[in-house]
């Protein structure tokens, strides 16, 4: 086993996550891509903790898994709320915060 393979794997996960966030419009795929990026970071932290023979990195990953669980609950609640208001899963419908109202210009 050599650490290079694990580095390549974690970089691949992170990059596929970025590609998914940028290129897809289905809001669920965007959500899962964000989780994939977090998983890539997890893999890198575990590899480095094994490499340095210290468990600090692994404990960090344990805390990150808890953060992922919190993020998932908030994101899924947001998806349900946005779905109720616009009846669609298209992320282009969810740009209300990014737009300036025409009347206020």
């Amino acid at each position: 086993m050599i650490a290079e393979n694990f580095y390549i794997l974690s970089i691949a996960l992170f990059s596929i996550g970025i590609v998914g966030v940028v290129s897809r419009r289905n809001i669920f795929v965007v959500y899962m891509s964000i989780e994939l990026m977090l998983s890539g970071v997890n893999l890198l932290l575990v590899t480095l903790s094994r490499l340095h023979n210290s468990l600090d990195g692994s404990v960090m990953v344990l805390l990150l898994i808890a953060v992922i669980a919190g993020e998932a609950s908030i994101f899924l609640a947001m998806i349900i709320q946005l779905y109720r208001s616009s009846k669609s899963l298209d992320s282009d419908n969810f740009v209300e915060l990014a737009q300036i109202e025409k009347g206020n210009q």
């Binding site: 050599i2 970089i11 290129s23 959500y31 468990l55 998932a72």
Partner: protein, 178 residues
């Protein structure tokens, strides 16, 4: 004996990484949301296997119980509840083109990350007895990481309250739709 162990570890790594990368590619390529979620489930299970390969038995457990058992299954439940299929999904005519373009844009960043990581140490040393097991993890967690641990508990509590508040039915929205 040592050589056979290395070959075995390499073979397991190859199988797991095929599942991991294939699952994540399937996740961004499938049109149906449910298929994407199942590919993501496979990828997360393979990631748990990679954790086990890195001598982290406790993280292997935590990944399967929390990431797979709770997070992905919760996502699957929401997908099944909303139940949008086929024509009801967002129309993405140029999906492959967008994926190709963003891959080209992301590639230099990946190469930069690779070059940066290659400057680090590359060979694994032998671990001490009990590395990554529950006992040592608990010792490190409660010696060095007590404050982040408590902060996480507050974060989870506020996430719970926030999820309930966000997902609750909005009275104003109901009146507008009537």
């Amino acid at each position: 004996m040592e050589r056979r162990r290395v070959v075995l570890e390499n073979n397991i790594f190859i199988v797991l990484s095929i599942f991991l990368v294939g699952g994540s590619f399937g996740m961004i390529l499938f049109k149906e949301t449910l298929f994407s979620a199942f590919s993501f489930l496979i990828a997360m299970l393979a990631l748990a296997g990679v954790f086990a390969l890195l001598n982290n038995s406790f993280l292997f457990l935590a990944q399967i119980m929390v990431s797979v058992g709770a997070v992905v299954v919760l996502g699957l439940m929401v997908i099944i509840t909303l139940n949008r299929q086929g024509k009801n999904l967002p129309q993405e005519e140029h999906k492959i083109g967008w994926i190709f373009l963003s891959t080209i844009l992301v590639l230099p960043f990946s190469i930069l990350l690779y070059k940066a990581l290659m400057t680090l140490n590359l060979t694994f040393e032998e671990t001490q007895e009990g590395f990554g097991a529950l006992k040592m993890m608990g010792e490190v967690l409660f010696k060095n990481w007590v404050l982040p641990f408590e902060a996480i508990s507050v974060l989870l509590l506020s996430a719970m309250v926030g999820a309930i508040t966000i997902a609750r039915k909005d009275e104003n929205l109901k009146k507008e739709s009537r």
